[in-house]
């Protein structure tokens, strides 16, 4: 038996750290979600041989997994937080197959868990009990690309990084980028309204998704796959599927607007004395760097030091209480460097930046991003991670961290705060040797109560999934919750789509 750290080294065969950790984490079988979180199964049917025969008639036998060992990895989320007990994975390869499967499941009252790259961190992409896993990984074709408008149309199972590579071949980029890009699917991104590193610059998916094709619980296909930038023809239905985490329909195709690929990219990585200074730096960056600012990230000392130590990475700066990563995307390298130099010299002169490096060299930029993108993953190597993701008004952004440290004290190994300053989105990693009921009850609902007091959101970008429905009232008022229930009832009256998720 290997220890997790040994396993991690043993499996270090790819360069993608997240992918390595995913592999390793699937070798451990965490407790079943239903036991761990004490949930009762809803009154759905269970899968019978006749059902499997029907699915075989649609998919053939190769695109159905029923063997325990084959199904196991699809039941577990990568942060080892949730584990379902599904006995069946279906892999459709086109919208028509998704439609037939859902129509059948709806008729037979069989629950379904739609699954993309399974990189979610709120248990939304794995079953809770024996829901049938509808995995979209085979729907990975790019349908069309318009060089002039930047409209890309593709199937939901396309991996984000692959789409970005494709777009770059046409001098465009995908409008979103996240740590999980090498694994996550665009369908999952859209279904969870993923945010990521450059929302500050390229906006959210409600703004950049041009069209969606989705299949409702009854199998009917809603075709809103227009690839136009403007389309005001009645209700903007696509937004019902953006961020509803597969509970209203399964996204099967996406049309998305790709911005122009920047000709010049520069990265700054700075040491900062205190959080207040980060806010000044951000405010000044917005005003001085304006249109070229593409990311403004922060991480506290815990986040960076734990990541570099645990994943054996190199921190190019000494230890500072806080770090800022600032990126520019522009169309003229000289102009961008002039702007950045002016910004830097001002901020170093006034003491807001204590130390720092600026680079436009791809490998150096990548090594800094690697640290930032793997902070979450670093908490998983040899330890258990309570991961949170909340939005707060920027002036209150970091207040939650010292409060949690004081409350949890020596009961946890470490509390880390990092995230997207520009979006008011902080990620909170609480690292412990292993899952503990006591720590869990000290964190929840305390953390959500604190966020609610400050008019924040209990989920900034990760969604609600299985882990947060009971806390939704901290962020949504009763009339909005009622409208959510009404819409769910309208679109999925038998509740077969991703049950136990999103809705309280």
């Amino acid at each position: 038996m290997y220890t997790p750290v040994q396993l991690f080294s043993k499996y270090c065969i790819t360069n993608n750290i997240l992918e390595q950790i995913r592999c390793v984490s699937q070798l451990f079988f965490p407790q079943f979600s239903s036991d761990k979180y004490k949930v009762k199964r809803h009154d759905f049917s269970t899968v019978r041989t006749t059902d499997i025969d029907y699915f075989k008639s649609i998919l053939g036998k190769d695109r159905i997994l029923t063997d325990d060992q084959d199904v196991a990895p699809y039941n577990i989320d990568w942060i080892k937080n949730c584990r379902g007990n599904s006995q069946l994975v279906l892999k459709p390869s086109c919208t028509e197959e998704v439609s037939k499967i859902l129509s059948y499941c709806n008729e037979k009252r069989l629950a379904v868990c739609p699954q993309g790259g399974n990189t979610g961190v709120v248990g939304g992409s794995v079953p809770v009990f024996d829901e049938i896993i509808l995995n979209l990984s085979l729907m990975d074709k790019i349908t069309s690309f318009d060089d002039l408008s930047g409209a890309l149309v593709c199937e939901a199972g396309c991996i984000l990084e692959n789409l970005d590579k494709f777009a770059r071949e046409h001098n465009m980029i995908m409008p979103l980028d996240l740590g999980a890009k090498g694994t996550c699917h665009i369908g999952g991104n859209v279904s969870t309204n993923a945010g990521g590193l450059r929302l500050l610059r390229y906006g959210n998916l409600h703004g950049s998704v041009l069209g969606i094709e989705a299949v409702k619980a009854d199998g009917s296909v809603i075709n809103c796959l227009k690839s136009l930038r403007k389309d005001n023809t009645g209700y903007h239905l696509k937004h019902l599927f953006i961020g509803s985490e597969g509970t209203l329909g399964v996204v099967t195709k996406v049309a998305i607007h790709c911005p122009v690929m920047p000709k010049a990219v520069t990265l700054g990585y700075f040491g900062v004395e205190n959080f207040e200074n980060i806010l000044y730096l951000y405010s000044n960056a917005k005003s001085s760097l304006g249109e070229i600012l593409s990311a403004f990230e922060m991480a506290d000392c815990n986040s960076i030091s734990h990541t570099v130590n645990n994943l054996k990475l190199q921190n190019p700066l000494a230890e500072y209480p806080f770090y800022v990563i600032l990126e520019t995307h522009g169309s003229d390298e000289i102009h961008d460097q002039e702007k950045l130099t002016r910004y830097l010299s001002t901020q170093m002169k006034n003491g807001l930046i204590v130390d720092g490096i600026v680079t436009a060299e791809p490998s150096k930029m990548q090594s800094i991003w690697t640290i930032r993108e793997n902070i979450a993953a670093a908490g998983l190597v040899g330890t258990y991670l309570y991961a949170y993701d909340v939005s707060l008004p920027q002036k209150h952004y970091y207040e939650i961290i010292p409060k949690l440290r004081e409350r949890l004290n020596s009961k946890v190994k470490m509390v880390c705060g990092f995230g997207h300053i520009g979006d008011g989105n902080i990620h909170i990693n609480i690292i412990v040797p292993e899952f503990s009921e006591e720590v869990y009850s000290l964190i929840e609902p305390f953390i959500f109560e604190e966020v609610s007091k400050l008019n924040g959101s209990i989920s900034a970008e990760h969604g609600v999934g299985f882990r947060k429905p009971q806390y939704l009232h901290y962020s949504k008022d009763p009339s909005a919750l009622q409208l959510m229930r009404d819409i769910k009832q309208l679109m999925d009256p038998n509740g077969i789509l991703n049950p136990y998720k999103v809705l309280p």
Copy 2:
């Protein structure tokens, strides 16, 4: 009796041409929409004295209009296309009053037409029969503004231009700008998903609206007024109210993200030989000007010459088949001018730009924008205007104009094409001496059929309103239309909100 042109001169007391034309157009009483477009009244109640007494108990007598002459302007849209026959205008001053009014109307089956600045061009903001007009102009307060994040929260009746002035005092701007900015309300902008001149740069309202408060037909208040950049807590309900044109609820408050005010603004105005060259110019501008490009507009010769002649404006360029207006928003004037100069010299050298001026002087920029923003209005002075607004893939953008000219020939005075190249959004003005059934039947449904063949949208930014529901099938497939009907039934089961609009 004055002629329209005389009236126009007589009423030229403000600098806002659109406002002048609105004043004048309200002196003419077009045909009732119900007669002109042959619609049958639905089975709603009619307003009685007891109803008016109830409304007086909520609003007092000063915020209720019942006198025919007082009510008249609220019944007519500014392009003189639609005219309702309402006998009652209500002017609530807070959400609670809106809630009480709707709750009462819902119970009594009284139909309601929500109205903002009444600048729409598809008849969505005026009643068709005797619907009660719920005018939000008194709800015009700014609630809060966050200097750091740029989140502005305000009531729905705020005039867009006022909000923009307010934002500019804080070094920010509103993320949308349209010709009607001096009159239109932010609530109307949101309800119709208004696009405008700079969508290319600042994105659409689905991306920039942070939160909404809306009142449903039954009077329940849906509070999704978060002013956070990221909030993934369940269904993204605010999008139901963006672009549903008041048929699912009345927007009462809006939280919106304001981008940083550009430190440098430059405008280019160019003469171009043919439409194909405009596409090259656009493609090159995207790539060379990149992040500073804030608008890319086109207008054909008809559009410009009719506007400058009819409104007695000055065209700073000679006559060319096509014109382009290109604007940059940047944070460094010298950098922007360098980029623009490089772009210009390349495009003049290769002959794509035949003639042009570039200016950063506010008054000169304004005089060019004045021409562009008043093309629509120019068609209203002394003539009748069939106004269309469609989206098309950029390569087919202009094809519809010669087709219409050929089809309508001498039966019309002029066919003009102009719009937002970057968004694939073309506006089509067909100018005739007065409304003619024959011309009307030659244009519709022909124009929508043509748009549909090219996978366009029959409404890019103006919405569906009263004028397009019967043509919605050209842009929306049957399953999407059914889902629209289901949602309407769910949220407004008695159909009191803006009836005869949006839904076929």
